[in-house]
C-alpha cells in the first residue's frame, strides 16, 4: 500500500493550484457570483492550458489521464474559489458519456470541442419529480431519425451550451430502456428557460429544457439504443467522485482561509487561533477534510482501475459533500461578522458547498443505496 501520489500527479496538483492562484481573481469571483455569470475568460484560459478534459484520450484533445488526476485538478480549483472551481468542473458536463460510449464522429466532434474551450456541453437527465426510470421525456426512433418530446429540469448552463446530451425513454414497458442522444442546442424543437436564481453555485445557472418534436438523425444516438440507463449509472459514478473532489476542494479552501484569518485576527489582545473554541474547530475541520480526501481518492483510484468500488464512491460523495458544508459553516464562523459579508470572501463557499449535498441524489437516498449494497440487495 502506498499513500503517495506519483510525481506526475503531484506536478498536476502543483500546476493546477498555481493556475488557480494566479487566475482566480477574488473580486471577479464575487462579481460573477452576484451577476450569475459563467467565468468565461478564466474557463478559456484553463482550456488553453489543458486543464479541461485531461481524462479524454490524447487523439481527442485530452491527455489520457485518469479520473484521479481530474479529481486533483477539480480539488485545486475549488480550493482556490468554490464558484469558479465548480463552473470549470461543470463546463463539459456529460462529455464523459461520449468518451465511454460515443462513436468516432461524436468523439471527434465533441471531445476536442470541450477540451479546447470552443464551447459548452451539458447533459439533461433530471425531470420534475426526480424519477430516473422511466423518464417522461421520450424519443421515438425509426431507421432515420429520433423525435424527442418532453421536458428536462436543472440542466446546467443549457442557455449557453452548444450541445446537450439528453437521456430519453425509448420504451415505456421497460423503465430501464433509455437512450442517450446528442443534440445541437440551436435547433428547432428546443426551448430553454431559466429556473431562476439559486442560493449558490451561481456561476452555473440552471435551466429547463423543453423538447417539442426535436428531430435528429439516428447517428446522434450515443452508444446503443436502450442502454441509456446503464450509461447514466457509469456517468453518475464518475460524477459522484467528481462531486467528492469539489467537496474536498471547497472544504480545504474554507480551512485555508479560516487558518489564515485566525492567525491574523486579534481579539482580547491575542490571535483568535489561541482560543480553544477556534482551535477545536480548526482541528475538526482538518480531520474531516483529510478523511473526505482519503475516501475520495480511494474511490477515484478504484474507478481508474476499471473496478469502481460503489461503496467507496457513495461514501466519497456523502462524506465530502457534508465535509464541504460543515467546514464552510465553521470557516464562516471563524470569520465572525466578516464571514457573513460577501467581502469576507468566504460566505460564498458556504452557499456553494450546500449544492453538493443535493447533487445527483441527497444523502438520505445515498444512505439507502449504501445499505442496499451492504445488505446485498
Amino acid at each position: 500500500m502506498d499513500f503517495h501520489l506519483t510525481i506526475e500527479q503531484r506536478d498536476i496538483q502543483k500546476v493546477a493550484s498555481e493556475f488557480a492562484k494566479g487566475e482566480f481573481d477574488p473580486d471577479a469571483a464575487l462579481d460573477y457570483d452576484l451577476r450569475q455569470q459563467f467565468p468565461l475568460p478564466i474557463w478559456k484560459k484553463a482550456c488553453e492550458l489543458g486543464f479541461i478534459g485531461v481524462h479524454f484520450p490524447e487523439e481527442y484533445g485530452g491527455q489520457e489521464l485518469g479520473l484521479l488526476e481530474n479529481v486533483l485538478i477539480v480539488e485545486a480549483f475549488c480550493r482556490q474559489d468554490s464558484g469558479i472551481g465548480m463552473a470549470l468542473a461543470l463546463s463539459g458536463f456529460g462529455s464523459e458519456m461520449i468518451v465511454r460510449n460515443g462513436n468516432e464522429d461524436q468523439k471527434t466532434r465533441i471531445l476536442p470541442f470541450v477540451a479546447h474551450g470552443e464551447g459548452i456541453v451539458t447533459s439533461a437527465f433530471l425531470e420534475e419529480g426526480h424519477f430516473l426510470a422511466p423518464f417522461a421525456t421520450t424519443a421515438k426512433i425509426d431507421e432515420n431519425e429520433c423525435v424527442i418530446n418532453g421536458m428536462k429540469s436543472f440542466v446546467t448552463l443549457a442557455n449557453m451550451a452548444d450541445y446537450i446530451i439528453v437521456v430519453c425513454q425509448t420504451r415505456m414497458d421497460t423503465p430501464q430502456a433509455q437512450t442517450v442522444i446528442l443534440l445541437k442546442k440551436d435547433m428547432d424543437g428546443i426551448k430553454v428557460s431559466s429556473m431562476g436564481e439559486k442560493v449558490g453555485m451561481r456561476m452555473v445557472p440552471v435551466d429547463q429544457v423543453v423538447f417539442a418534436d426535436a428531430r435528429v438523425p439516428v447517428e446522434n444516438i450515443v452508444g446503443q439504443e436502450d442502454t441509456g440507463y446503464f450509461q447514466l449509472q457509469d456517468y453518475f459514478n464518475e460524477m459522484r467522485i467528481k462531486t467528492g473532489a469539489m467537496g474536498i476542494g471547497i472544504a480545504q479552501g474554507g480551512l485555508d482561509k479560516a487558518l489564515e484569518y485566525s492567525k491574523k485576527r486579534q481579539q482580547f489582545g491575542k490571535p483568535i487561533a489561541s482560543f480553544g473554541a477556534i482551535r477545536n474547530k480548526l482541528a475538526d475541520m482538518y480531520m474531516d477534510v483529510e478523511m473526505a480526501r482519503l475516501i475520495t481518492y480511494k474511490a477515484a483510484w478504484s474507478f481508474d482501475l476499471g473496478k469502481p468500488d460503489l461503496q467507496a464512491i457513495l461514501m466519497a460523495k456523502m462524506i465530502s459533500s457534508q465535509t464541504a458544508y460543515k467546514t464552510a459553516y465553521n470557516a464562516v464562523q471563524v470569520h465572525g461578522g466578516y464571514g457573513y459579508m460577501a467581502e469576507g470572501q468566504i460566505e460564498h463557499f458556504y452557499r456553494d458547498a450546500k449544492v453538493l449535498d443535493l447533487f445527483l441524489e441527497p444523502r438520505y437516498i445515498q444512505r439507502n443505496m449504501l445499505a442496499d449494497n451492504m445488505l446485498g440487495r
Binding site: 424519477f131 430516473l132 436564481e197 464562523q333 465572525g336 457573513y340 460566505e347 450546500k354 438520505y364
Partner: protein
Amino acid sequence: MKEIIPFYDQWEKEGIIPKEAWKKMGQNGYLCPWVEKEYSGAGLGLEFSFIITEEMAYAGVYGLMAGLHSDIVAPYIHSFGHDKQRRKWLPGCISGDIILAVAMTEPDAGSDLSSMRTTAVREGANYIINGEKIYISNGILSNLIVVACKTEIESRSPYKNISLICVEEGSPGFSRGRNLEKTGWHSQDTGELIFRDCQVPVSNLLGEEGKGFYYMMEKLQQERLVSAIMSQASAEAAFTMTLDYYKQRKCLKQAEVPIDANGIAEMATDIEIGRTFLNSLIYDHIHGEDIIKRVSMAKWWISDMANRVISECMELYRDYGYLEEYKVGRFFRDVRAHPIYAGSNEIMKRIIGKKLGI
C-alpha cells in the same frame, strides 16, 4: 403580513425596506408595544413584542427587523434614558418615524468590545465623536443610533470608559458607508457608520458616563433571547414548509425513494427541545429572573440547531431547495447569521464556562 409579503421579494432585491413599511408597522401598533401609555405606547407586556418578532421570523421577514428595533435597541433608551429623552424619542419609535440601530462592532472590536476605538470627547455642551462602526443592522435606514464610545480615554478599563450616546440623523460629522452585500438578510441594510468630529449634544448621553459596558452586558441578554426566538421560529417555519412539500409530493407519488420517518423525526425532536427550552426562558426573563447562563446556552444551541435542521430541510426538497423560488433556501441563508451576532456562539460558550466556574 399582507403589507409585507407581496413586496418582500422586491425589497430583497433592492437591499432595503421602504421607510413607509416601518410606518405601517407603527400604525398597526407592532413596534415597541411594551412601552407604557405615558410615552404613547400600548402598555402591553414584553411577550407581545416577542410574538411579533417571532411572527416576522416565522414569515422569513428578516429585513424588516422589528425585533432589533423594539426588543434590542428601544430598551436602551427606555431603561437608561432620562424622562426627557424618553418623551423625545419613544413616541417616534412606536410610530415608526424613528428607526433605531445600536452600534458596538468595529473593524478591530468584535467579540472583544473592550478594544473599541471610537471616542467621544466632551467639548462644551457637545460630545465630539470620532471613529467607525461596521456591520450595523438598520445602518442605512436608522435615524437614531445608540453608539458605544470611549469617553474616558485615559482609563484602559472597559468597565469604566465606555458610554452610550445617541446620535441623530443629520448630526454634523456623521455619515454612512456602504450597504454591505451578505449571505442573507438581503433587504436588511447592514451598514458602516462613520464619525468625523461628529457633534452631539451632551444631553444625548444615555444614563451615566462610563457605565456603557454594564448597560450593554445587561441588554445583550435580551438580544440573545431575541436571536434564539428568531432562530427557533425560522426552524419551525422551514420544517413545516418542508413537511407539507414532502407530503404533497408523496401524494403525487413523486418521491421515488421512500424516506423513512427517521430523519424527519430527529428534526421534529430537535425543534421541540428548542421550543421547550426557549419558552421556559421567555417566561423567566419576563418575570425578571437572571437568565445569563441559560440564554447563552439557548442562543448557541438553538441557532446551530436551526441551521442544522434547515440544511436538512433543503435536502428533502432536493435540487428545488437550492432555487430561490423555494423559500427554504432563503431561510438557509438568513439563519446563518444567528450563530455570529449578539455575541458569537463561541462567546456564548465562554460565558457558560465562566458561569460554571472554569
